[in-house]
Amino acid sequence: MSEAPLLALDRLSRHFGALAAVNGVTLSIAPRERRAIIGPNGAGKTTLFNLITGHLAPSAGRVLLGGETVGGLAPHAIARRGLSRSFQRNNLFPRLTVLENLRLAAAADGKGSWSLLGGASRLGPSLARARETADAVGLAGRLEEAAGALSYGEQRQLEVGLALATRPRILLLDEPTAGMSPEETARMTRMLEGLPREVTLLIIEHDMDVVGSLADRVTVLHYGEVLTEGSFDHVKADPRVYEVYLGSA
């Protein structure tokens, strides 16, 4: 089944001086796929995300979203095209309530946000979407709490929620379970498994149990290059991957 890829990277590179943080990465993600990106520290995973989301401009190569070249566009423009991202460190609106956090993200398609005199009624549609998202990420009972007052695990859930509220075609999650206890990780994994399949997922993870539960395919990155790609079982069995994780001899 060869459907056109939703996200395609074509020989994507990013240099910092002499260092090639990302070096000629080519990969494509099909719609409704769930892909995990793994690799030891310094593999360039977060840099890759920053290139895809527009936080960094490529030094070479292309990023294609739904066939359209988006490399070099501003982050908000890429987000508007249906690509959304959560962060490795919580990046929330701390003094605003959970509901308002999600509503802001849900309203980001901009249609109503230039209304200078519109009142509470104009907020209706985005509020509805915010509540739906809160249900999806397990925060329905915490809507009136300030984001800064949530537990760390709940904040990670909200972190994913913000990216999800924009109703993206593809959702990039940067270490969603970072810093979580085993119980919280299990909860997050179940939540992610429960997301609608229409939302394509691209996840950076270190927790191999999470990768095993979620990913259809796994891409292994090493020193900014793709080492191998395949199902989790295939990647697990690859001796090169094992070597790369144990570090240079």
């Binding site: 989301t53 309203a107 901009g110 907020l123 924009t166």
Partner: protein
């Protein structure tokens, strides 16, 4: 909710009826408070809601003041009194904002300050603008055939304009646009990441704030009958900043209360001593240390109202 609205209505009525039971000095003090309160409220929209601390807001106050002065001498109507100053202030804000918004934090403060002092220098040195003495003998406008020169008529005119603009600013802060500004204040980077063209929103906020500040400046010219380069000077920006902080940043109404506190303190203390600035400074330091939420913040804490 009803109690608050009723209380506000009573206050507005009292303010409107002030000339009926008070002498001309208190009335003028109130009018000065209202004008600077409006100026401070426009700054609060920028500072308190969007998180853009500007030290150059006097640029627009001064533009409004000078344009009104020049225009009213030629043709004393509403266009000269309000529309033209607002329009020119808006254009000024668009130009200054376009450049200033590219930077943030300390650099934004420095750039806005620099722009406002450029205007000060131009006004100070330009004979057409009255140089250091400014312009005097500015007539009050005639509105729909009525000259609003008298104390009572000017008061009614001022209340009407102030009421409209205060309502406008209040509506903006509660609108979807206002919510976006607050989001930008809380986490600008995340707003970008979820898809808001943040720079456009910041520029819009800057222009709205600058336009209202321009109208406040125009009103000040009409209040005093004159204008001087001080309207552009950095101390005017600083005064507005103090008023916002004293009243409570990000509360809008606080800016008006802060203006009242500042001007009343100035008027009261300066009748006893020349060192009123020292008293004000100490008061301000104590406020920041012990009541950082300003007047409104402290009141809310006492009465337990939700933010």
């Amino acid at each position: 909710m009803i109690a608050r609205a009723a209380g506000l209505a009573v206050l507005v009525a009292a303010i409107a009826a002030f000339p009926l039971f008070m002498g001309s000095y208190p009335v003028k003090l109130l009018q000065e408070i209202l004008i600077f309160g409006l100026f401070a409220m426009s700054l609060d929209l920028l500072m308190g809601y969007t998180g853009m601390v500007s030290f150059g807001h006097s640029a627009f106050f001064g533009i409004g003041a000078y344009v009104a002065a020049l225009a009213l001498v030629k043709s004393p109507g509403l266009t000269s009194a309000l529309l033209l100053p607002a329009a020119v202030a808006a254009v000024g804000a668009l130009l200054i904002g376009y450049f200033s918004i590219r930077v943030s934090g300390v650099y934004f403060i420095m750039l806005t300050l620099a722009f406002s002092q450029m205007f000060y220098a131009v006004a100070f040195q330009n004979a057409f603008l009255g140089a250091e003495d400014g312009l005097v003998g500015i007539p009050r406008p005639t509105v729909a055939g009525w000259s609003i020169g008298s104390l009572g008529r000017f008061h009614a005119y001022l209340i009407a304009i102030e009421g409209l603009l205060a309502l406008f600013l209040w509506r903006v802060t509660r609108s979807p646009f206002g919510h976006v500004l607050r989001g930008i204040h809380e986490n600008e980077a995340r707003m970008q990441a979820v898809g808001y063209p943040v720079r456009r929103y910041k520029l819009a906020a800057f222009v709205i704030a600058g336009t209202v500040a321009g109208i406040a400046g125009a009103l000040y010219t009409q209040f005093q009958g004159s204008v001087s380069p001080d309207a552009f000077f950095w101390t005017t920006s600083g005064q507005a900043l103090l008023m916002v902080i004293i009243g409570g940043t990000g509360t809008l109404g606080g800016a008006m209360l802060g203006a009242a506190a500042f001007i009343l303190l100035q008027s009261l203390v300066s009748s006893y001593t020349e060192r009123w600035m020292l008293i004000l400074g100490v008061t301000f330091v104590l406020l920041v240390l012990f009541a950082p939420g300003g007047i409104v913040g402290t009141l809310r804490g006492r009465v337990g109202l939700r933010a």
